[in-house]
Symmetry: C2
Subunit: 258 residues, 2 copies
């Protein structure tokens, strides 16, 4: 959606294609090189940073909409994506927005009862991706984007700081119950790599040896015979996820601590 024609059509006729009152706002966590970031877009007019949201098509299943929006924004398919909460309490979520303001900011003429100004509840999803593999796309409303370190999130639009906080809390709770890493690490990875991943996401240190013991004893990873030469020091062995156990743990959940 970038040409003026498309944008106009979206604003004027979007309600025919999309459900009003609802948006999907994904918190996209990007991990790479021991850093955990989230993807934010700069919304023009509103002049602030916000989540890369989208709308649900009228005959589109909810989870499909979430995947589509993520795909449109990042080019990624088939990743860890999970619904975590609906936000509909904050004053921002109760307010209807003004058409005049919109016209001033975007230079588009719209009617007062345009669907975009109605009260909108936000369905929060979060995803976990390798941000070095993402090619972010912007559009008419979002001209710029940036990956922000989670320790350094700027003030966001509406109640989206709350959304991000809750997403992070959910992710950190979840990692105790479900495995993570399948699409974030190379097919074959070292213990250090997966260890760093978990430490970074949880934001705290984990004993290297006990951590590895735990994952192995849960049957989630297995040691390969291969090693990887990466520098002037002993070469680490490579590990692989046990797909079956991994899938199973995703579904069933695991009860444990690290």
């Amino acid at each position: 959606m970038n040409s003026e024609e498309e944008v106009n059509d979206f604003v004027k006729n979007g309600h025919q294609q999309y459900l009003p009152h609802l948006s999907i706002d994904p918190v996209i966590f990007g991990y790479h090189d021991q850093q955990l970031k989230i993807l934010l877009h700069k919304w023009i007019g509103l002049d602030g940073w916000g989540l890369p949201g989208g709308f649900i098509r009228r005959r589109e299943p909810l989870s499909q909409a979430a995947h589509r929006i993520l795909q449109e924004r990042t080019g990624l398919e088939d990743l860890f994506l999970q619904q975590f909460h609906v936000f509909g309490d904050s004053p921002y979520r109760l307010q209807e927005r003004s058409a005049r303001e919109f016209t001033e900011k975007y230079g588009l003429v719209v009617e007062k009862d345009n669907w975009l100004f109605e009260r909108t509840l936000s369905i929060g999803y979060f995803a976990l991706v390798d941000y070095s593999k993402v090619s972010v796309r912007t559009d008419f409303f979002t001209t710029d984007y940036r990956w922000w370190d989670i320790s350094d999130i700027p003030p966001l639009l509406f109640d989206q700081n709350e959304v991000v906080d809750k997403a992070l809390a959910t992710l950190r709770l979840q990692i105790y119950h479900q495995p993570i890493g399948l699409n974030l690490l190379p097919e074959k990875f070292t213990l250090s790599e997966i260890h760093s991943l978990y430490e970074t996401i949880l934001g705290k240190e984990l004993d290297q040896r006990n951590f590895a013991k735990k994952l192995v004893s849960l049957g989630l990873i297995k040691k390969l015979a291969e090693q990887r030469a990466i520098g002037p020091h002993r070469s680490p062995y490579l590990y692989q996820f046990e797909k079956d156990a991994y899938e199973n743990a995703l579904k069933q959940g695991i009860v444990h601590t690290y």
Copy 2:
């Protein structure tokens, strides 16, 4: 909403008062006397059992709407009520319903594009109450109700069996991380009572002694000096929740097993 006038107004003009495309469908778990049940209403016309749902007012915060709906249906305020999932994937949730059918079943004349026939996503909440303290109210659409044992849920409308299953799974997972019982047990209760409560909810046996030890060691309950005379046998001591620890555990979560 019971007079014909009110119902007509709701059907015709409800969209002015309520958000379309969204409903709140609470799964109300009722516990009493070692039985765990859920509240279902018999929906006339649709001729089946379903959850006692409701709609969100246009300027009403989401969680307030959930509490209101519960209050309207059960008379209860201030109880354990929690959002757990949005349902928008099942074919039922994509379908729009037909006006003709509606007219046939309810004898109300409605237009084809009435708001009630549009695709509706369901925001799932679950609550936990003492069903002996509930006075259920019905309305024009729901003439009858019944508490159904969770092991014996009938086929429900739409995708609501899935909703109920997920609610139960969430409850059972949650009880490992957050305390339960504050509004389900008397102010002062015996170990047997709280033990039965947990066994019933989890649907499995828990060692009596270890269970009590755990709750005490977590600081969630404390033993009182009083006993309660209840039969031709030794009288049990009474216990009370430690409110502070309880509230704290609700917020922070506990990591443990039983």
